[in-house]
């Protein structure tokens, strides 16, 4: 029997992999891809809980998460394109405008 717990475990794994991706990869595009992974993990969680509670709320929020992901991808990639054009790199450790 597959329960919500199975989904939660899978979701936690996906989230962890995504988080590691954000922390270790230097290519900004890969960084955004990893963030998409994390958002997917969240959606998986929402669906699992929604199913378990028999409540549509989880699915509604999953739709919102998707919309936010779309917006984030559009703006994030726009920024990356601009960074690439202005600095000639998309490596996160070479873009350090916030350096102290």
């Amino acid at each position: 029997m597959i329960t919500a717990t199975h989904y939660l475990v899978l979701s936690a794994c996906l989230f962890g992999i995504g988080a590691v991706g954000v922390m270790v990869r230097k290519n900004l595009i890969t960084l955004l891809l990893s963030i998409e992974l994390m958002l997917n993990a969240v959606n998986l969680n929402l669906i699992a809980f929604s199913h378990q509670w028999g409540d549509m709320l989880g699915q509604v929020f999953a739709i919102f998460v998707m919309a936010v992901a779309a917006g984030e991808a559009a703006i994030g990639l726009g920024i990356i394109t601009a960074i690439y054009r202005n600095r000639g790199t998309v490596e996160a450790d070479q873009v350090r405008g916030m350096e102290g």
Binding site: Y7, V9, A12, N43, A70
Partner: protein, 171 residues
């Protein structure tokens, strides 16, 4: 092992495989294709949990829309990582440990007894054959205003994305 379980393990494995690919593969284009695998598997998992609409949206929005933007961006940026450069940030061992820890604590947090609920409430619903109508009911009645705000948000994001991408272009 039921068919359901079989499918679950199959798609879970594929999703994890894709996820690892995103993080491990060198070129972003490979990562994007790898992400596609994860996205489709997650869509299948949505289907298994009785969220047909979400599954369709996942394929259309994520695999069709978001990934397409990614591919465009990869094309525009035309940046190939040099083979000899270090792919990972030097903090990677610590990051992997932290990632594992984070996943474990999140899981422990979510599986607290406080969140324990009667299992399988939705099973009946899934058996009734689809819940897209039910979703529409909630989305367009209770959450109509947030839904409209989301559309506004998408327009703003679109304009912002265009502005950002064209920032610094010499005319």
């Amino acid at each position: 092992m039921t068919v359901h379980a079989l499918f679950f393990y199959l798609f879970a494995a594929l999703a994890l495989l894709g996820a690892v690919g995103v993080v491990a593969l060198r070129q972003p284009i490979q990562g994007a294709v790898s992400l596609l695998l994860t996205l489709l598997s997650v869509a299948a998992l949505f289907l298994l949990r009785g969220a047909e609409f979400l599954a369709a949206a996942q394929i259309v929005i994520y695999a069709g829309g978001i990934l397409a933007i990614f591919l465009f961006a990869i094309m525009f940026v035309a940046y190939r990582e040099e083979e000899k450069r270090r792919r990972w940030h030097p903090q990677w061992p610590a990051a992997v440990v932290l990632g594992l820890g984070l996943a474990a604590t999140l899981l422990a947090f979510l599986l607290r007894p406080a969140l324990g609920v009667p299992a399988g409430l939705g099973a009946a619903q899934a058996a009734a054959g689809g819940n897209t109508e039910a979703l529409a009911e909630v989305l367009f009645r209770t959450y109509l205003v947030p839904f409209e705000v989301i559309s506004l948000f998408l327009i703003v994001a679109m304009v912002g994305g265009i502005l950002m991408a064209s920032w610094g272009v010499k005319r």
